[in-house]
Amino acid sequence: MKRHRQNRILGGVLLGGFLGAALVGLFWTPFDPMRIELRGKLQAPGAAHWLGTDEFGRDVLSRLMAAAGTSVSISLVTVLFAVLAGVTLGVVAGYARGWTDRVIMALNDALLAFPSMLLALALLSITGANMYGIILALGMAYTPSMVRVVRGSVLSLREREFIEVSRIMGNSAAYTMVRHILPNSLAPVIVLATSMFGSVLLTESALSFLGLGVPPPAPTWGNMLASARPHIAEAMWLGIFPGLCISLSLLGINLAGDAIRDRFDPRMRGL
């Protein structure tokens, strides 16, 4: 019980720290993250540049902060995309059943059959590697699992008596879906959305690492990690700090996600 509490606090602190840094990074960074200063390249962490400089002399801390802003906003918008699309399709499929359900779920399962990384890669080759393309590709890659979860909970909800009562009261299907089905199926959606946020962040970093993310010179944790590779022997910090950012933010998201899941699932309460 106590460990759980500590974990939650740790998760909250980590997540809060990264979100805060990302927010600040949108408006202010210690140095201009894009300014090239070849004379001061590959400086070790020190008083002027807390986390050192990279192979072009750019300040690593500033770049990490700017990258956090990019990564977090891409992930947030992507999750929002997946939630909106997934909930809409899932509720419609689960409530309508019949052919609507079959068509939606057949397409959905076809998408679900691909690993989301692979799917995002394929979609990126169509949309092109820019911010909107990435959001679209990642969103489409993550929607299918959301559809599955929502449809499942709608299927069990629609057999409940209060849904029949709504029909008897003369309410339309659309009204019933929005007023009764939707609010009652939100708990699993919120839980899934939190864990999705973490994996979208990771996938986005991986795409950037492969050179398919937001194009340079704009910084992301992934492309910083990638460009640090040739210099790993002489400037370790170039790889270590973005790597730490990725793993610590994921840890924070997962711990906070557990807390949210416990909050929404009464069966997990008190454990």
Partner: protein, 553 residues
């Protein structure tokens, strides 16, 4: 009566962590071969007392005081091992749910053999002989075949017989039956109970029967213990408790049992509000991947008319099609043939008349937990029924919601509460308020009071009758409980296997039933006459009661 078989002395139980007291200072004794009933509503602690006799109370509940002595030995002093030897061999138990108390993946033979292996030294052939013998005695037609069959191949009644067989196999000196027949239909209930009585009398086993059903306990037991909120309020011989109850709660329980209401005059010439003609419902059953789809008929062409202001009761055992008929009339299940007329006009989903019908035909369901959206407040739940009244202002609607909630006995404090903050009876009141707020002309109540405790049920029934008189809606009251029907209905329709067996005015059906099926159903409930001090119970058609099942075949 020399030494009592069971002595319970000042027993108290509490939740070990929370410290909340569940049962307080309960004392009673059961003599050898005596048949005793514990009656109480939910939360009275009756099941906990019965379970603690076996040492089977849930782990979170601890015995905090008092003692239980079985054949003179204190159960609290026994080791777990000695307790195990006692269970099964000397103490038997029959639970409410025959579906879950038999292991679904073990054959009946293996399950019945288990206690014999554990507690006796009989060899395989002798064990088999004992099992076959007891199966024959509980009325299993093909005992040899039953040995290799699985629980799901038997009906609920048969399963309960098998449970009884397994409990009686070792000839225990005490059999505890916790709501043994609550999950069964009235007819089956009676057969199983009478079989149980016959068996315990034959073996001179004592029986402790736990039930919420006072008339049933009164019919079969020698002595009654009445419990409420963890305490015994009264105990004594059946006759005394029924005819001269001392405690106010016992009187309330007896008073809550349904009695026939006065007969009301419904003009027979009035044109029916709702009429169905030749209504049939079919389900397609998937028999297998390549097999042709089988068609199962749930209703075979039913005709029914409900006149203005009339309460028509639809009774029958489970599987009789009464709920399907109600749901089909409400438009929740599509009819495969036949017509539904509302005010003389045929309605079909999608037609212009349908919309009007939809708003004029409301429904109250059995489960007050399931029929209210858990994420909505009471005021919104009830107000939703007024959504389609475009002329009324929001303030006017709120006023009507408050007025109707007041009428069903829930004051302004409840407006902002959520369903889970209400008791079962209060929830059902909300469901009723929601059904009648739009002044419908027709209300279908599907087992609307079946899930409620006896005293709550009486009040909710009164409420339904009251609202019906005030607003004059017609009502189709679906119930398996004939006592409730006798109190409320103007006319009774008896259904069996998807067809109507008998229909007529309430008095005609209850006093002079024409079909054997109705007679058998009625023999399961008492006629109740209120006397000055208590009540007297008479059992209908008791003479021919011997074999109700035989009358049907």
């Amino acid at each position: 009566m020399n030494q009592p078989l069971v002595e319970v002395d000042g027993l108290s139980l509490r939740v070990s962590l929370a410290g909340q007291s569940i049962v307080r200072d309960v004392s009673f004794r059961i003599g050898a071969g005596e048949i005793v009933g514990i009656v109480g509503e939910s939360g009275s602690g009756k099941t906990m007392v019965a379970r603690s006799l076996m040492g089977l109370q849930p782990p979170a509940i601890a015995v905090s005081g008092g003692d239980i002595r079985f054949e003179g030995r204190s159960l609290r002093s026994l080791s777990a091992r000695e307790l195990r030897a006692l269970r099964g061999a000397r103490l038997g138990m029959v639970f409410q749910e025959p579906m879950t108390s038999l292991n679904p993946s073990m054959t009946i033979g293996r399950q019945l053999e288990e206690p014999l292996r554990l507690h006796t030294r009989l060899n395989a052939a002798a064990r088999r002989g004992r099992i076959l013998d007891i199966l024959r005695r509980v009325g299993i037609h093909d005992p040899e075949g039953a040995l290799t069959a699985f629980p799901h191949q038997f009906s609920g009644g048969m399963r309960q017989r098998i449970m009884l067989a397994s409990a009686m196999l070792l000839r225990p000196s005490l059999l505890i039956a916790d709501e043994p027949t609550t999950a069964l239909d009235a007819l089956v209930q009676r057969e199983v109970l009478e079989l149980m009585l016959e068996m315990v009398r034959g073996e001179s086993t004592a029986l402790l029967m736990i039930s919420h059903d006072l008339p049933m306990v009164a019919r079969y037991c020698d002595r009654i213990i009445v419990m409420r909120q963890g305490e015994i309020v009264e105990q004594g011989p059946v006759e005394e408790i029924i005819s001269r109850p001392k405690h106010a709660y016992t009187r309330e329980l007896l008073h809550s049992m349904p009695v026939r209401g006065p007969a009301r005059a419904i003009a027979p010439t009035l044109e029916p509000v709702v009429e169905v003609r030749g209504l049939a419902v079919e389900y397609r059953v998937n028999a297998g991947l390549l097999a042709r789809k089988a068609v199962k008929k749930a209703l075979h062409g039913v005709d029914l008319a409900v006149r203005p202001g009339e309460i028509v009761a639809l009774v029958g055992a489970s599987g009789s099609g009464k709920t399907t008929l109600g749901r089909c009339i409400a438009g929740l299940v599509p009819a495969s043939a036949g017509r539904i007329l509302f005010g003389g006009e045929e309605i079909k989903p999608g037609s212009a008349a349908w919309r009007n019908y939809r708003l004029n035909c409301q429904m109250i369901f059995q489960d007050p937990f399931g029929s209210l959206d858990p994420r909505m407040k009471i005021a919104d739940l009830v107000g939703e029924a007024l959504r389609h009244e475009r002329e009324t202002t929001a303030a006017g609607k709120a006023e009507r919601v408050r007025a109707i909630l007041d009428e069903v006995g829930l004051d302004g404090r409840y407006l902002d509460r959520y369903p889970h903050e209400l008791s079962g009876g209060q929830r059902q009141r909300v469901a009723i308020a929601r059904a009648v707020i739009g002044r419908p002309r027709f209300v279908i109540a599907d087992e609307a009071v079946s899930a409620l405790d006896v005293t709550v049920r009486a009040k909710v029934l009164e409420l339904i009758a009251d609202l019906q008189r005030r607003y004059g809606f017609s009502c189709l009251f679906i119930s398996h409980d004939l006592g409730v029907v006798e109190q409320l209905a103007d006319r009774v329709v008896v259904m069996r296997d998807g067809a109507i067996v008998e229909e007529g005015s309430r008095d005609a059906v209850f006093d002079a039933p024409r079909s054997a099926y109705t007679r058998a159903l009625l023999s399961a409930i008492p006629t109740l006459i209120r006397t000055e001090t208590g009540v007297s119970l008479n059992w209908r058609f008791a003479a021919e009661a011997g074999a109700p099942a035989a009358a049907l075949q």
